[in-house]
């Protein structure tokens, strides 16, 4: 890639506001041919809005976008496509009811005499899958694919169109380390073939590995565009948050840990999901569970919390065995869970912050069978202060909060019941750096106060810094245990891969 080449895309003075909130103000940016351009910033910094403008999903109020010197009409998906811009959106754009071929060609079907030409589409699908080196059945509905496989389909869909700019909005947010590696390989391969990539990610490691230049956004403004070799990690974070943040440090060894067994899980088995899961979590201890996406971690979490049934095994909390498949029983026993999907399982977005926070303590704030507003407000205010939730007031809709603050509300909802045993499933996915640090601080504080914590995460640095002990799951089984104080990323990854593959690498 030559630095002097003419830009493929030039963005000039793009502004966009939503109901008085300036999402983008006067952004200028150019993307060179064959470059991977990183886009960083906290949630709400304006990255997604910029992408939507580029994709033709929303029209900016001012400014121009030119592709190869030709201006692009605003808010026109078809013009964007014609100009060779393809987008892999953050929210899933998979059609779960349609099969792979149908998904690849949705909206641009190949026709012959006006009828669908299925054979030609299958042929092209096979070709593109071959190019990406993925093998997936062409006629399986996407519902039956894993999230990672669906992501591959999205990649294939973009590659199918000979695009010149591929925009990827947090493509690895729900992928495991191995899948991420495959995906990054694909991106590099695209760059080789001359395609420009606009790559949005919260994972700084990926940015460092992949990108040629990186642009940082903050509060709807562009902070700087810098070649990656002139920037280190802390500078990058500094640009993003506008202040220095202490890098995560490992937890002081076994602070506050006791010998009292809080939760003991023995021989948990669920057909098709996981088997032979046994572990104990002590009061004051954080047990981390690592592994690839699809290794069965979330399923174990859901089974313990009573969200799913399991076939065999026993769960004991403080020595008393727990009724299976009942969330109410789990909560009664003092278990709380921050689920992996914040928007669908964690929060009720159209309800207010206050209503969300008090959802778990409705009986507690009820007097004479009626909800006592005084008690409710008191509890909610207390929780919001303790979690430092940034919201104008408690009556705001949860949907209007940033990702990090939403996650704090989910956490707060469970702190309200003073849980004995807290399960966190991907607690900081899609959460910005500052909020992530605060969530980590809270988890530690609570655990030191005597709570037992089980954390499932794909984020390796998070797993290593938080956990006292680490168990790694692989293909539904526990593959091994590591000491949190000494474990390394390599050790975790070695356990996380299935045996045969581990020997290969």
């Amino acid at each position: 890639m030559s630095r002097t080449s003419k830009p493929l895309i030039t963005i000039e003075n793009i502004s966009k506001s939503y109901g008085g909130v300036q999402a983008l103000s006067k952004v200028c940016l150019n993307i060179l041919p064959g470059e991977v351009h990183g886009l960083c910033g906290e949630n709400g910094a304006g990255k997604s809005t910029l992408i939507k403008c580029l994709a033709g999903v929303v029209s900016p109020e001012t400014g121009t976008i030119t592709v190869d010197g030709k201006p692009l009409s605003h808010g026109d998906i078809h013009a964007t496509e014609a100009a060779g811009i393809a987008v892999i959106h953050q929210e899933s754009t998979a059609f779960l009811d349609l099969d792979l071929v149908e998904n690849l060609f949705v909206g641009r079907e190949i026709k012959k005499y006006g009828w669908l030409n299925r054979r030609a589409m299958e042929r092209q699908a096979l070709a593109v899958m071959h190019r990406l080196d993925v093998t997936l059945d062409l006629h399986t509905p996407l519902r039956e694919f894993s999230i990672a496989q669906r992501q591959m389909v999205e990649m294939a869909r973009a590659c199918l169109r000979d695009c010149r700019l591929l925009i990827m909005d947090e493509p690895t947010a729900s992928l495991s380390a191995r899948e991420t590696k495959t995906l990054l390989g694909l991106v590099k391969q695209l760059r080789e073939s001359g395609v420009s990539v606009l790559y949005v990610s919260h994972r700084l490691e990926e940015i460092a590995e992949l990108c040629d230049r990186v642009t940082v956004f903050r509060d709807g403004r562009l902070v700087a565009t810098t070649p990656i070799d002139q920037l280190d990690r802390n500078q990058l974070i500094g640009q993003m948050v506008g202040r220095e943040i202490n890098a995560l440090t490992r937890r002081e060894e076994h602070a506050g840990q006791t010998d009292e067994v809080r939760a003991s899980i023995t021989g948990l088995y669920s057909r098709g999901s996981f088997s032979d899961i046994s572990f104990e979590v002590r009061a004051g201890e954080i047990l981390g569970i690592g592994g690839l996406v699809g290794a069965g971690r979330s399923e174990v979490a859901r089974a313990i919390f009573g969200a799913d049934r399991y076939d065999q095994g026993e769960i004991k909390i403080d020595g008393a065995s727990l009724k299976k498949g009942s969330i109410q029983a789990a909560i009664e026993a003092g278990i709380a869970m921050v689920p992996e999907d914040r928007q669908h399982q964690g929060l009720i977005l159209p309800m207010s912050v206050s209503e969300n926070l008090s959802l778990t303590i409705l009986t507690e704030i009820t007097r004479h069978r009626l909800i006592h507003h005084g008690h409710e407000t008191a509890q909610v205010q207390h929780l919001m202060r303790r979690l430092a939730v940034k919201a104008a007031n408690a009556k705001m809709e949860a949907a209007s909060l940033s990702g990090g603050n939403q996650q704090k509300v989910v956490l707060g909802k469970w702190l309200a019941i003073k849980p004995k045993f807290l399960i966190l499933d991907e607690p900081t996915r899609g959460v910005d750096v500052a909020a992530k640090a605060e969530i980590h601080r809270l988890i530690r504080e609570l655990t030191e106060a005597g709570m037992a914590t089980l954390i499932m995460t794909s984020d390796l640095p998070e797993l290593l810094t938080l956990s006292d002990r680490i168990q790694v799951m692989c293909e539904g089984r526990i593959a091994g245990q590591l000491d949190g104080a000494t474990a390394t990323e390599e050790q975790v990854m070695r356990l996380a891969f299935p045996r045969s593959e581990a020997q290969l690498t």
Partner: protein, 317 residues
């Protein structure tokens, strides 16, 4: 198994035929055509409503719409008072246009007015029913010109049956062989993703509602042609029968899934239940319970899936 629903419907149709054959060996050959002809209005409208439900919407105004269109046709073409006695072909053209326009209007309410389709079509169900009564002014309308009656009673070739088969085949082709059909499924499966894939959700939905309006008009024409009589209760309750058939036929009420074959089988099955019950002549006692038996069977049909699927391991959705 992909065609499980179709298979079980075929088994049910088979079992019902067998049961009838036990009573009278000549039942099936003697009544097969009758059953098909009786199912015509439901069959034609179900094709449209199926597409609407696949896009994730619903249309419960089709019964009233059929009534209104039948009343319009009757008024325009009837040769006796209060009919205007205009040429039947012109009347048919007018009815087809009106049906399509009302369907399009429903679509506009849903798409542009953002009124939830169940509410928009509930409103239309009530209002169109009133409009039908108002047009009819109380009494039945009879006496239609031969050209019109021929569509429903032509003895040598059953034109209505051929038309129905054409509609069904056309819907099948639309669903599985055209880009538009593919987009109808995509819109129901994931509307926001469809928008991002450059599909116009608006146009797709307007199309299915307008098509349903037109198919309802065709059904109304054939209805009048066959019965030669329109009353204020024409079409009443048809919407629920149609939705039932579509759902029993395996179309997901949440959109995105369903095939024409299942719907066709379900229409035949539900039409057959009544014919067979009538035929078996279980005595005057049983006739009284006909609707109840029908209801129980439909309840079993819509709930049976859930019983069989409940014990399968729940994957992540």
């Amino acid at each position: 198994m992909k065609y499980r629903r179709e298979a079980s419907l075929i088994v049910l149709v088979g079992a019902l035929s067998f049961l009838a054959t036990l009573f009278d060996a000549s039942f099936v050959p003697a009544n097969a055509i009758d059953i098909l002809i009786n199912s015509i209005p439901t069959m034609i409208i179900s094709c449209g409503v199926m597409l609407v439900i696949i896009t994730g919407e619903i249309d419960i105004s089709v019964g009233s719409l059929l009534g209104l269109l039948a009343a319009t046709l009757a008024l325009l073409s009837s040769t006796a008072e209060p009919g205007l006695g205009i040429h039947p072909y012109l009347a048919i053209a007018i009815v087809l246009t009106v049906g399509t326009l009302i369907g399009l209007g429903t679509g506009c309410l849903v798409v542009y007015g953002r009124v939830p389709s169940i509410i928009a079509t509930l409103g239309l169900l009530i209002a169109l029913d009133g409009a039908q009564d108002w047009l009819m002014g109380g009494g039945d309308i009879k006496h239609f010109p031969q050209e019109l009656r021929y569509l429903g009673t032509g003895t040598t070739i059953p034109i209505n049956l051929i038309l129905t088969i054409l509609v069904v085949a056309g819907t099948g082709l639309l669903c599985h062989k055209t880009a538009l059909g593919r987009r109808i499924y995509a819109v129901g499966s994931n509307p926001s993703a469809a928008r991002l894939a450059g599909i116009s959700v608006t146009t797709t939905k307007l199309f299915v509602f307008a098509l349903t309006g037109m198919l309802t008009a065709i059904a109304a024409i054939l209805w009048v042609a066959k019965l030669g009589n329109v009353s204020t209760s024409t079409g009443a309750g048809l919407e629920l029968k149609v939705v039932t058939c579509v759902v029993v036929g395996g179309v997901s009420i949440r959109g995105g899934r369903g095939r024409i074959l299942g719907v066709v089988l379900a229409v035949i099955l539900i039409t057959m239940i009544r014919t067979v019950l009538n035929f078996m002549d279980l005595g005057s006692e049983a006739v009284k319970w006909q609707r109840a038996i029908e209801g129980v069977m439909i309840l079993v049909a819509v709930t049976s899936d859930h019983f069989t699927q409940r014990n399968q391991p729940g994957g992540k959705s």
